[in-house]
Structures are given as C-alpha cells and as structure tokens.
C-alpha cells in the first residue's frame, strides 16, 4: 500500500543529501541517527557472540568451540554489548535526538563536540573490532589483573585502547547534555516542567562526566603494566591486584546506572503518555534519578565481597548498596500509581513499558539479594549474578530502548511502524527473555560458576532451557529490525502528534525541520498537562 506522495516539506532528512552531509553534520538529529546505526551494528555483533555461547552451553562437554575461543566469545560479548551498545545506546540515539527538542532548544550546546563524540565511538569501535578479528581478547570484560597484564596473550592492548577512546565519547556526550540542560532551556521551561526523560539524561550525564575518567586512567595504568611490567598491579613486584578491581568498579558500577537511568526516563514518558495522566509524584521520580546518580558512586565495593576485601569495608559497602535500591523502588511504585484512574492504551510502547516495570522489578529485587553479604558469598561469580544483571540490562534497558524507538519512530521518520507485528515481537521478546534468564537464577544458586566452558552434567537441563529461550529472544529482536526498515517505505504517514503527547518535541512536524522550532516555544503549562492536546486525532493503540 503505497501512500500518496504528500508534497515534501523541508525537514532534517531531505534538506541535504550525500555522504558528506551525514559524516560532517552538526545537527543533533542526524548525529542521533548515526549513533543508531553504529550501536545497532554492535548489538548484532554482541548478539552473535551470545548465540554462540548459548549453543556451546547446550552440552556439558565443550564440543562446539575450544575453551580459548569460548573465553574470547564471552569477553567480546561483554565488551561489544556494554561499551559499544548499552552505554551509548539510549543517551546517544534517543537522548541526542530528543533532549534539545524537549527543552525547546535548536541544538545541543556544542554541536561540533557532539559529532566528535560519535567519531570517537566509531574509532574506539574499530579498535575493538580489529582486536576481535585479529584474534580476540580472553580476559573477560572486567580485565582483572594479573591475568590481563601478565598471563593473557590475547589482544588486550587493542581492546583496552578501543574502550579508552570510546570512553571519551561518553564523557563528551555527558558534558554536552549538562551544559544544554543548564543553559539552553526555552523561556518558561523551569526545572520542574522538564520532561522526566530530560531529568534522567541529566543524571546519566553526571555519572558519565564524573565516572568515566577513572576507567580511562585505569586503562592507562593497565597499558603501562602490560607493556613495561612496572608492578602497579603485579603482586610479584609489589603491586596489588585488588586495587585494580577498586578502580575498575568505581566506574563500572555507576556505568550500570548510565545504562538503566535513560531507560527509566523513557518509561516515565511512556507510562504518562499512554495513561494520558501526569506521572504520579513528578518531583519524587525526578529527584530519584539524581539520588541514583549520586548514591551509585558509593557502592562499588559489593563487587569485591569475596575478593579479599576487608570485612569492615564489605560491611560499609553492603550497607550503602541498600541505599541506592530505595530510589529505584520509589520509581517503580510511582509508575504503577500513575496507572490509577488513567486512560490506558495498549499501544506497543506501553507493552514495552509494562515489560520494563515487571522485569526491572525482578532485576532490582535480585539486586537486594546479592547486596546481602552472606548470600553474595555463595552466588557471586555464578549464574545467579549473570541472571541478575541480564534482567536489568536486557529486561530493563533493551525493553525500554525498544519502547522508546517505537514511541518516537513516527517523529524520527515520519512513518508509523506496523502495530500488529510490533505487539507480536514485544510478546515474543518478553517470553524468550524469561525462558532464557530465569533458569539461570536456579543454575546460579546451584553453584554453576560464570564463564565456564565445561560444566557438570546435572546442570544440562537448565542450560538447554536457557538456550531455547535465547533462540526465541533472537527471533524477537530480528522482527523489529525488519519491520522498522519496511516502515520507512511502506509505513503509514505519521501526523505531528500521533499519541496525543504533551512534549515540546511533538509540537514540531514529523520529521522535524532542521532547527526544530521555527520559533522558540514559550512554555506555559506543567510537564504532562494533557488538557492542552485533547481534540487532536490519536492513534488507537
């Protein structure tokens, strides 16, 4: 069904064509799309590695790949997924695209730095890709010393350099967001009228700016130790391997909040729009994002409970880890309360939001499990922890990312996605995900260690279930890639505000003009005041 050729209005997609117009663009919307392309590539790469890992674990004996290859597979799965998909995904694609529009700005504060941050991610990605093709790295995405500095003979330096460079991409994005939110809000857009999407990205930017430099210097020291053997992390020369773990996790724990906070921002938008009701407890949800960003820096020691960390330090970190759980609980309760007396539509983005709230609740609660010292001693470095962080990363961040993509697709491309297929794929993803990762909780408590190429026979049934779930999940992820591309050509032409949403980004045509707003909007009402949009025709969910 070819839609009638509506007269082409000039927008950010068709005002200039050609490679140079994309590779040298300073428009935050185009840079958002460049990021979308890059992170999707790395998601596919990481997904391929995950598939091979799951196939290997079908049988207790290691008969699909050798143990060296298996160690490289789970390492590259971790590196590709974390540093090149989860950390950049939401902030750099949807955040880049919509943060300026939501606060009524024409662009980010530093457009050229925004383009530079994309190039840094691509260059870092190429380094890691080179390392993967040249032979792979087998230290685990955590690069624990002294294995990574003395005993591993794989491409540690190339991968570490890739992560080092992509770290600066994250720093620059964070810096750009903070300055934009502080200095470029439209008149009338007070802090308490900003959409919660912007609040969560502001909190994420704080973590990116304050945390990422520490892993940058840690990688420099790892580089020096591996090349010059100067003993910073080498115990035979007086170094302390546990110090590396402290510096690594100082960044890497807040990094998990870099991955989940933007997802929470999306869910706050979706729950409010599809219940047609302001979010319950706006300021609590907003300050909860800030609390997570701040408290997230005090808890990293819970990764070292059994790593010969001192008992008293472990007590302190376990105690603080429970503080960071409270803001997440507040958010979940506020989302649920928003549904009360709402007008709830079941469009695909809302299904993803429900999926997020459900799975993030399980992920968060198991976080409370592993924060308890006595319990963590038994389950750390087992599949219980693998299941915990996949529930939050895959069940949470990727679900919300897909929900956000579906929600803003009409604004980005001017086309609607096919509702029927989208709902089907959301359901497949939900089922496939649970079948993949719930058995791993049981495996973990049984004592199945992480990163094992060979395992005792009694764990095989649970592994087979998990692999079955992984194949269902893979199908679920392939479907959106297909119908999103299909919708570019054949999707229904989208109106400016198909969902009846209240954000400033919906007051521009779809796809938006080059400078977002012909006239800088004046904001007069609260963040989610739906009385202003009633009467516009709305997509029936």
């Amino acid at each position: 069904m070819i839609t009638a050729a509506v007269p082409e209005r000039e927008n950010y997609l068709n005002y200039k064509y050609g490679i140079k117009s994309w590779l040298l663009t300073k428009d935050h919307k185009r840079i958002g799309l460049l990021y979308l392309f890059t992170v999707t590539l790395f998601f596919c790469l990481g997904g391929a590695f995950a598939t091979m890992i799951r196939i290997e674990l079908l049988t207790p004996q290691g008969n699909f790949v050798s143990s060296e290859t298996y160690n490289k597979l789970f390492t590259m799965h971790g590196v590709a997924m974390i540093f090149f998909f989860l950390i950049p995904a939401i902030p750099a694609t949807l955040g880049n695209f919509f943060l300026p529009m939501m606060i009524g700005a024409r662009d980010l504060a530093f457009p050229r730095i925004n383009l530079l941050s994309w190039y840094l991610l691509v260059i870092g990605g190429l380094f890691s890709l080179f390392a993967m093709l040249a032979g792979g790295v087998d230290t685990g995405w955590t690069f624990y010393t002294p294995y990574s500095t003395t005993y591993s003979n794989s491409w540690v330096i190339a991968t570490a350099l890739g992560i080092f460079i992509s770290g600066f991409s994250s720093i620059l994005t964070g810096l750009n967001f903070i300055v934009t939110v502080h200095r470029m809000r439209a008149p009338g857009m007070t802090w308490m009228r900003m959409p919660l999407f912007v609040w969560s990205h502001y909190a994420t930017a704080l973590i990116q700016v304050l945390g990422t430099p520490v892993i940058a210097v840690t990688i420099i020291l790892l580089f020096c130790e591996r090349v010059f053997h100067i003993g910073i992390f080498d115990p035979t020369l007086g170094g302390d391997p546990v110090l590396f773990q402290h510096m690594f996790w100082f960044y890497s724990h807040p990094a998990v909040y870099i991955m989940v906070l933007p997802a929470m921002g999306i869910v706050s938008e979706l729950v409010s729009v599809f219940s047609r009701k302001p979010i319950f407890g706006y300021q609590f949800v907003a300050y909860a994002s800030m609390a997570i960003a701040v408290l997230g820096f005090l808890v990293w020691g819970h990764h070292l409970f059994v790593a010969t960390e001192s008992v008293y330090s472990a007590l302190v970190f376990s105690f603080l880890s429970y503080f960071v759980a409270i803001p997440s609980a507040i958010k979940v309760f506020n989302w649920t309360a928003t549904l009360y007396k709402g007008s709830i539509s079941f469009a695909t983005p809302m299904l993803y939001a429900f999926g997020f709230i459900g799975l993030f609740t399980i992920g968060g609660l198991t976080g409370l499990f592993v924060a308890a010292l006595g319990f963590d001693v038994h389950v750390t470095d087992t599949y219980f922890v693998v299941a915990h962080f996949h529930y939050i990363m895959v069940g949470g961040t990727i679900m919300a990312y897909l929900g956000g993509l579906h929600y803003w697709w009409p604004k980005i491309t001017g086309r609607m996605y096919p509702e029927g297929w989208a709902k089907l794929s959301a359901l497949i993803i939900f089922l496939g995900f649970n079948l993949t990762f719930f058995p791993q909780f049981i495996l973990g408590y049984l004592g199945m260690p992480r990163r094992y190429h060979v395992y005792p026979d009694e764990f095989q049934v649970l592994h087979v279930l998990s692999t079955a779930g992984a194949s269902v999940l893979a199908v679920g992820y392939l479907m959106p890639m297909v119908y999103f591309i299909w919708s570019l050509r054949y999707g229904k032409v989208a109106s400016a505000n198909p969902w009846g949403a209240t954000g400033l980004e919906w007051q521009t045509p779809s796809p938006p003009p080059v400078h977002n707003f012909d006239v800088t909007p004046i904001v007069t009402h609260e963040a989610y005041d739906y009385s202003t949009v009633i009467g516009q025709e709305v997509e029936v969910g």
């Binding site: 502080h182 200095r183 470029m184 430099p213 053997h229 007086g238 170094g239 800088t520």
Partner: protein
Amino acid sequence: MANDAHAHAQSPALRVQFDTETQQKDASTLGMWLFLVTEVMFFGGMFLVYTVYRHAYPGIFAIASSSLNVYIGAANTIVLLCSSFTMVLAVRAAQLGQRQAIILFLILTLVLGGVFLGVKAYEWNEKFQEHHIPGSSFHFEGMQPDEQAHAQLFFSLYFAMTGLHALHMVIGVGVLLFLIRQAQKGKYSAEYMTPVDIGGLYWHFVDIIWIFLYPLLYLIDRHLKG
C-alpha cells in the same frame, strides 16, 4: 520572533543554537569547568594509586623520593606560577580589549611553559643517567632486590604522573599558540574574549595539578635524607 532575527545580526561569533552572547559565554565556561572536573577525576585515579603505594611502602618511597632534586622541583614550581601569573594578566587584558597586551602576555606564558617543559626534560634525562627509568635497566643503588621493585614502583608512578602532567602542558602550549594566532588576527575584543578566558582556566588547572604533584612527589619525608 523578533529576538531571533535580531540576535543573529548582532555579532558574527554567535553560534546558531544560542540566542544571546552571555548565554554562549556561560555555556562555554560551564563546559570548560565540567571538562576540568573530568580532569580532576582523571588525575584523581593516579593520586589514589600513589596514596595506596606510599602507604604500603613508606620507607622505600621516602628514600626514592629523596633522590629527586628538590631545588629543580621548587624552581620549576615557581616557573609554572609565573606562567599562571602572566596568563591571568593576559585574560585581564582580553577583558579590557587591549590587543597588544593579550599577545604579549600570551607569549610570556608560552615561553614560561616552554621553560617548565625544558627543565622537566633535563630532570628526566638526569634520571635516565642514574638508571632510575623503570624497566630492565632500572637500578637503585643500596637496595635489596625486592626493594628495587618497590623503588621502581615509585619511579613508574613518578614518570606516569609527571608524564601525564607534561602531556597536558604540551596541549596547553598548543592552545596558547592557537590563542596567540587568533589574537594577532584581532579576533578578540572586550565583547568576545571567551576562548582566552577558558584557555586561562585550563592553564591554571594544569598549574594546580603541579601544585599538588610537587609536594607529593618531592617533599614528603624529605627530612629523612636531609
């Protein structure tokens, strides 16, 4: 609206995404301060490692740090403080729009920065001759083999921290060259002097890092050797 069209006609240096001059200047200044915070955390990682190992091996670190030439360190600190002084005078000249003064003070800062790097290179060369460069040729006389490793740890931290600081000085020299060229082309006036201002912030920050490096590396437990 009226204010959009009006703003852009006002001054060519105003970027399209900003509405007013002060908004752009505040944004640039906030951006630079945030960048300096990332630098604080960047050097912070190094200071942490130094603190941990100074606590672990106080004796050997004291002997090794006492082998550094404290007079060169002090002289270098004073050179860097002078360059900070001339830099702030350059920023002040920019605020007043005195084009000649900006160029003069920027060149002075550049020269002093060069002197600092020169002295640092001399110091490193002296270390090279004394075989204090970490690696296979490292040897610190009068120490047991396992103490050699701990002394080598001190010198690897010494070279890592002063090396990182020197790298930031080199970047600073690059920034100064850029500022001088722009100033000569008359780009900076009392209304538009943001690049000089944030260039100054960066230079002063690199100076503050050295203000902490100097006592930590050169002075602590200096009295042991006298």
